[in-house]
Symmetry: C2
């Protein structure tokens, strides 16, 4: 079986271990390293309350620093959020320890700003730095480009996720084969105090940091920003791409090359995004909400998220109830413009509402569809025929298990 983990990308090594943060004994420290400095760009959470790693990460990837990374260091079990100056000092120390350890191992000079820190877990607690100080050298000693190391990494970044999330794509640019592979974690935007969506994509493509930073927001907008498990945007969300150029392709600059590379990058990011929704806390079904015919793209987005975030819609889907009135009415309160007389709704391609009235469809047929593992809700707002005025959102159903996971946890 070919290695499709993140270490399948030329010049990337990974490792994960349990350093003692999580009481469960599961891995809680993970490291991803490029053999040479990699062009890098990241997208961070839009939450105004951000964790210390985000504050440090934004500095390290500030344009004036050139957009180059050598490593990503991640701990889980503690988010390092709402921890003041001490939290920032701790995040910086994690980067410094990683840079120093890697410098010793490789003989390279590694500036602290070439390390990006990630933390995920409880808000309002300080990171147990003694455990991390002890762990990082051990972790670095285990770095490997084996498939096993790639799988360990995929596991090492998880919190309440039930499954690892990995995606892989290749693309040929001017005759050179480029690999893109990534992992992410996130059981939705949130988890029981173990908040956060973290995504790491590695590629051996040669591309400038500037161009990568320009492409990334568009990739995020059409992948990770289309996911909502429970609308609770974390304080620590981070999506990073590292491109080390070891594929030796002609550096990406032309429009066709940008298009091909972006499409492959989106393929990986979109797959990871869907895997997050599918593994949402308590989820039994993946749901794709597609809103079309909106007055504008932002309107389509608002309506799609209103449906995806409505507990009423999510419980109907959980119960297998073809209760399309909930979907239509959720769009109705979203602030998106709608033309009721031209609004149409379908469930798994079966029309249930059209021209302001119920269709004559047998709801028993639709109910059967509602028991699929992947539910497609499509709603046309009847305001335009422009295919660009549409948006899709990935979400999951809302089950008793979600309540159990989130109510029965204690700080």
């Amino acid at each position: 079986m070919p290695n499709h983990t993140i270490t399948s990308v030329k010049g990337f090594r990974a490792a994960a271990m349990h350093c003692g943060i999580k009481a469960s004994g599961k891995p809680d420290l993970a490291l991803l390293v490029s053999d040479i400095p990699a062009a890098a760009a990241a997208v961070f959470t839009q939450n105004k309350i951000v964790g210390a790693p985000i504050i440090v990460g934004r500095r390290h990837l500030h344009p004036k620093n050139g957009g180059v990374l050598r490593a990503c260091i991640t701990n889980s079990g503690c988010a390092n959020v709402c921890t003041g100056q001490r939290g920032i000092d701790d995040a910086l120390e994690m980067c410094g320890l990683t840079a120093d350890t890697l410098a010793q191992l490789t003989g390279d000079e590694i500036p602290i700003r070439q390390v990006l820190p990630f933390s995920t877990g409880v808000i309002g607690h300080f990171v147990p730095m003694d455990k991390i100080r002890h762990g990082i050298p051990q972790l670095a000693a285990q770095l490997s480009d084996s498939q096993q190391a790639g799988e360990a990494y995929a596991t090492g970044i998880l919190t309440t996720d039930l499954v690892t999330k990995t995606a892989h794509a290749t693309v040929t640019l001017n005759g050179v084969r480029i690999t893109i592979a990534g992992n992410c974690k996130g059981s939705g935007m949130i988890a029981p105090n173990m908040a956060t969506m973290l995504a790491y994509i590695a590629t051996d493509a040669a591309i400038s940091p500037k161009l990568l930073a320009k492409i990334l927001p568009h990739i995020a907008a059409e992948s990770f920003n289309c996911v909502s498990v429970d609308q609770h945007t974390s304080t620590s969300d981070t999506f990073v791409v590292m491109a080390n150029g070891l594929a030796n392709n002609r550096i990406i600059t032309t429009a066709p090359a940008i298009k091909k590379f972006s499409a492959a990058l989106l393929e990986v990011a979109d797959s990871l995004a869907q895997q997050i929704a599918k593994d949402g806390e308590g989820a039994t079904k993946l749901v794709t909400v597609l809103v079309t015919g909106a007055k504008s793209k932002p309107d389509a987005k608002r309506a799609a998220f209103a449906i995806a975030n409505s507990p009423l819609c999510k419980t109907a889907i959980h119960g297998g109830d073809p209760n399309w009135g909930r979907f239509v009415s959720a769009a109705g309160y979203s602030s998106a413009a709608m033309n009721l007389a031209k609004t149409a709704c379908s469930i798994n391609n079966i029309p249930v509402f059209k021209n302001g009235e119920p269709t004559s469809t047998d709801l028993a047929l639709v109910e059967k569809q509602m028991h699929s593992k992947h539910i497609h809700i499509t709603l046309d707002l009847g305001m335009s025929k422009n295919p660009a005025n549409s948006h899709h959102v990935y979400t999951c159903d809302l089950s008793r298990d979600y309540i159990t996971i989130n109510a029965d946890y204690h700080t």
Copy 2:
């Protein structure tokens, strides 16, 4: 025991019955009538998808019609939403039948536009008009100003509500005692296909329709619009006030009289609003979220609703977990401006977060408070000292019962 039901207001009569819409045999048709034409104003749902009764109700209370009502006719078990022209015809017929029946009973001429229609229940189904045609004359024959009739009305408007919701206040204006009493229904904004918040307030105050219409949005903004059980705004929400002037007070026009009357009206509306949140589907706790120190009032509102609508916050409250990081981070993603270094959070008046860091409060103390029946979450965004830049929202916790009620129901 004094009569504190809606029929305690001079000149108001009520009745409720089972006409055959609900399979449960519970009351599904209710009528509220003023002995004489009453000044009236209403606030309707902001959902763009509205039920036929809203379309008809907006016409009947259109300023050009003078703002006068004689009766409110309500059916439950069917919302008459997404039902096209036939739905509008049905809502009009409900009003016409009520007007005709009352005209026969009283000998008065009653225009159809003096009747306001209300429907609550499943979306996308036609109202069983045969049952309603049969029911209205029987219902009108039962009209009474007794306490029993008032209690029947409070019960008759319910859907999945577990308790009736009634509030009462008196105020003396220029030596004349005025009574204000009301009922509402709504197990949150939603119920298992039995959506909708309906509120009826009757008063014997003399006030012009124009002034009443001017006051009402402010009353709604500080009462019913502060409630969110699950952010799913119904297609049929209606809040109506009828003032028949039978207290014989000097008609309200002066600033002090307006202030006193508004305060009493708000007292009744606010009590009803809290009763809705407390009886939210699956609720075990009433929650008041108060956001202060915002940059603006709309910012305070956005932050308060983000907390009140976050399933993560609501499950923490359900589980009795003093997980303040969830409250702070919810405000953080709300788009409200925040100054993290000056942000402060307290739970039932115990400070847990201050100046960007956790307080030294013993969380065990806070956890005890989290088991109260009424939880107060207070968050200061640290952006201003202006007391006007604050907003409160009533909500409830999110429990397994919410899922059971909403997932296991079938259309």
